[in-house]
C-alpha cells in the first residue's frame, strides 16, 4: 500500500472520516501525515480533517502551489477560466498572457485596433501611477516576493517607464 498523497512512500497510517452519508478513507505515509498534522507518535492526533481531505483528494500527487490571484480583486486564473469573466481591469494586466491564449483557443484573435478613450494617456490612479508602482516593486523585492516583483516590473514596462 503506498501513500494516497505523494504516491511514493509506503503508507503507515490509515485515516477514516465518517459522515452521515459517506466515509472517506486515506492511507498516508509518515511524511505526508506529519505535513497534514496527523502524527503517528503517541501524542494525540491533532488534525484538521477538512483541509486534509480536500487537499489530498483534489490533487493526488504533488502538493498544490499557492494559487495565482489578481492582486486587486482576488480573482484567480481558475475563476477567469471557469466563468470566462475578469474580476477587474487589473486582471487583464496580471493575467495578460493567459487571457490572450485563452481567447486564442476559442478562435478569438485579440487584435483590436479601434479607438481608445481620449483621456487614456492623461489619467493616473493609485494602481497605475509609476511612482507608486516603483515603490511597490521595491517593497516586493525586499520581501523576496519575486512573483509580485515581476508583476510590477512588467506593469512599469507596459507604461513605458524604466524600472
Amino acid at each position: 500500500m503506498i501513500c494516497d498523497v505523494c504516491r511514493e512512500r509506503p503508507a503507515v497510517i490509515f485515516v477514516q472520516q465518517v459522515s452521515k452519508d459517506s466515509s472517506i478513507e486515506l492511507h498516508l505515509c509518515e511524511v505526508c501525515a506529519r505535513e497534514r498534522g496527523v502524527s503517528t507518535g503517541e501524542n494525540k492526533i491533532d488534525i484538521t480533517l477538512g483541509g486534509l481531505f480536500s487537499d489530498a483528494l483534489e490533487k493526488p500527487g504533488k502538493e498544490r502551489p499557492r494559487e495565482n490571484c489578481c492582486p486587486v480583486c482576488g480573482f484567480s486564473l481558475q475563476d477567469i477560466r471557469k466563468h470566462r469573466k475578469a474580476g477587474c481591469a487589473d486582471c487583464y494586466q496580471h493575467f495578460r498572457g493567459e487571457i490572450i491564449s485563452l481567447l486564442r483557443r476559442e478562435g478569438i484573435e485579440l487584435a483590436y485596433t479601434g479607438p481608445l478613450p481620449t483621456k487614456l494617456e492623461a489619467f493616473r490612479t493609485p494602481q497605475v501611477d509609476p511612482e507608486n508602482l516603483r515603490a511597490e516593486l521595491q517593497r516586493a523585492i525586499e520581501q523576496e516576493d519575486y512573483e509580485l516583483a515581476a508583476y510590477y516590473r512588467d506593469r512599469l514596462k507596459s507604461f513605458g517607464g524604466g524600472v
Partner: protein, 363 residues
C-alpha cells in the same frame, strides 16, 4: 380602444429597413470605470459610487431631461419583468440597490449600471439598422467620457467583464423572424455556418437549449476583440444581410413549390388570431410569425410589419399583466383564473391590431 398598452417609449412601433425579416437591432457598448473592480467582485459601497458617477454623467448630458434613472430596487417585480421583456435588463438580475437602469423617454437608448459591467449602453432600432444604432450609442458614450474615465488597455481595448467583449466592447444583436428557413429545413445548416464563422446565433424567447420559440432568432457578434468598430459593424452587416437574403429566397421558393400548404398555414394563423378568445404566449408568437410570412407573400393585407413587431412585445406576459393591473380593460366575468385572463387580454390586444387584416386570395 385607444391602445392604452402602447407607451410613448415604444421605438418598436416605427418602421425600419428589412422589417419583413428583421424585427430589431440592438447595439450595446460595455464600459467599466477606472479605479473600481467589476460588478461581479465589487463591494456595495464602491458599487454605490459607480452608480452615482454614472447617473451623474447622464445628468450632465445635453438632453439630460429626457433620461429617467432608477435603482432596480425601486422597480417593482412587474416593472422588472417588463424591462426584461424589452431586452433592457436580463431576466434573473439581482435587485441590489446599487444596480440601476437609465432609459431615454423614447426607449431608443437605455443603460444598465452594475450588471455584468459598470455601464452597458444600448441603442434599439427597428429593422436592420446596425450603423445608425452604433452612431447613436457612440455619440452618447463620447459625451459621457467627458465625465467619467473608462478602463482600457492598449492592445486589449476597452476592458470588460466578459473576456470576449474586450476591444470595442460592442455587441451587436439582430433579431430575425425566419419562418421560411424553419419550414424548408435549411435553418440548421445556416445556424451551423454562422457559428463556424464566429457569430452567435440563438433562439429568442428564452429557451435555453438554443431552439427558438417560433422562428425568432438572434444573431450577434461572438467577440469584439478583433479589428475596430467599423470592421465589426461591416462584418455584422454582411452576416445579417446574408441571412435576410436566405430567408427571403426561402419564403419565395416555398410559396412557389408548395402554395397550398403555405396558404393553409397562413390562413389558419390569421383566422385563429382574429377570432380565438384565448391565446397563450407560445401560440401568439407562432401565429404572428405565420401572419408575417403571409403578409410578405401577399396573402394578407391590412396590417404592416411594424404592427406585428410591436405586438411581439405587447403580448408578452408582463406587458399583459401590467395592462390588466391598470384595470381599464374589462374582461368578461366568466373568465376566472389569472392565466385565462391573461390569455383573454392577449387575444383582445392581438385582435385590436388585426381588426383590418384580411385574407387576400392571390390565386
Amino acid at each position: 380602444m385607444s391602445n392604452p398598452s402602447v407607451p410613448s417609449d415604444a421605438w418598436y412601433t416605427e418602421d425600419g429597413p428589412e422589417t419583413d425579416v428583421v424585427l430589431s437591432t440592438r447595439v450595446r457598448l460595455a464600459r467599466n470605470l477606472t479605479g473600481f473592480v467589476f460588478p461581479s467582485a465589487i463591494k456595495s459601497d464602491d458599487a454605490e459610487s459607480v452608480l452615482s458617477l454614472v447617473f451623474d454623467a447622464f445628468n450632465k448630458l445635453e438632453d439630460a431631461d429626457r433620461y429617467q434613472m432608477v435603482r432596480l430596487s425601486h422597480v417593482d417585480s412587474i416593472g422588472r419583468r417588463i424591462l426584461a421583456e424589452r431586452g433592457v435588463i436580463e431576466s434573473g438580475t439581482g435587485n441590489e440597490p446599487w444596480r440601476g437602469v437609465a432609459i431615454r423617454n423614447d426607449g431608443v437608448i437605455s443603460a444598465t449600471v452594475n450588471m455584468d459591467d459598470h455601464l452597458r449602453l444600448s441603442a434599439f432600432r427597428p429593422g436592420l439598422s446596425i450603423y445608425p444604432g452604433s452612431q447613436l450609442v457612440a455619440g452618447i458614450e463620447a459625451s459621457m467620457q467627458q465625465q467619467i474615465q473608462f478602463s482600457a488597455l492598449s492592445g486589449f481595448g476597452y476592458l470588460t467583464s466578459n473576456l470576449s467583449n474586450v476591444g470595442s466592447g460592442m455587441k451587436i444583436s439582430v433579431l430575425l423572424c425566419l419562418p421560411g428557413l424553419c419550414l424548408n429545413g435549411l435553418l440548421d445548416r445556416a445556424v451551423r455556418e454562422f457559428l463556424a464563422q464566429g457569430f452567435v446565433i440563438q433562439g429568442y424567447y428564452g429557451s435555453e437549449d438554443g431552439s427558438s420559440l417560433g422562428c425568432l432568432y438572434q444573431l450577434s457578434n461572438g467577440s469584439s476583440a478583433s479589428g475596430n468598430v467599423s470592421s465589426q459593424i461591416s462584418l455584422m452587416e454582411q452576416a445579417a444581410g446574408k441571412l435576410v437574403e436566405l430567408e427571403k429566397r426561402s419564403r419565395q421558393e416555398l410559396y412557389a413549390s408548395r402554395p397550398t400548404s403555405i396558404e393553409d398555414t397562413v390562413f389558419r394563423a390569421i383566422v385563429t388570431a382574429k377570432y380565438a378568445r384565448f391565446i397563450g404566449i407560445n401560440e401568439s408568437v407562432r401565429l404572428l410569425q405565420n401572419i408575417r410570412l403571409g403578409l410578405n407573400l401577399g396573402l394578407i393585407t391590412g396590417i404592416a410589419n411594424r404592427d406585428l413587431t410591436a405586438l411581439l412585445y405587447r403580448i408578452q406576459t408582463a406587458h399583459i399583466c401590467f395592462v390588466i393591473s391598470g384595470g381599464s380593460i374589462i374582461i368578461e366575468e366568466d373568465v376566472q383564473t389569472e392565466e385565462l385572463r391573461q390569455d383573454r387580454l392577449r387575444a383582445m390586444v392581438i385582435q385590436e391590431v388585426l381588426k383590418n387584416a384580411d385574407i387576400h386570395e392571390g390565386r
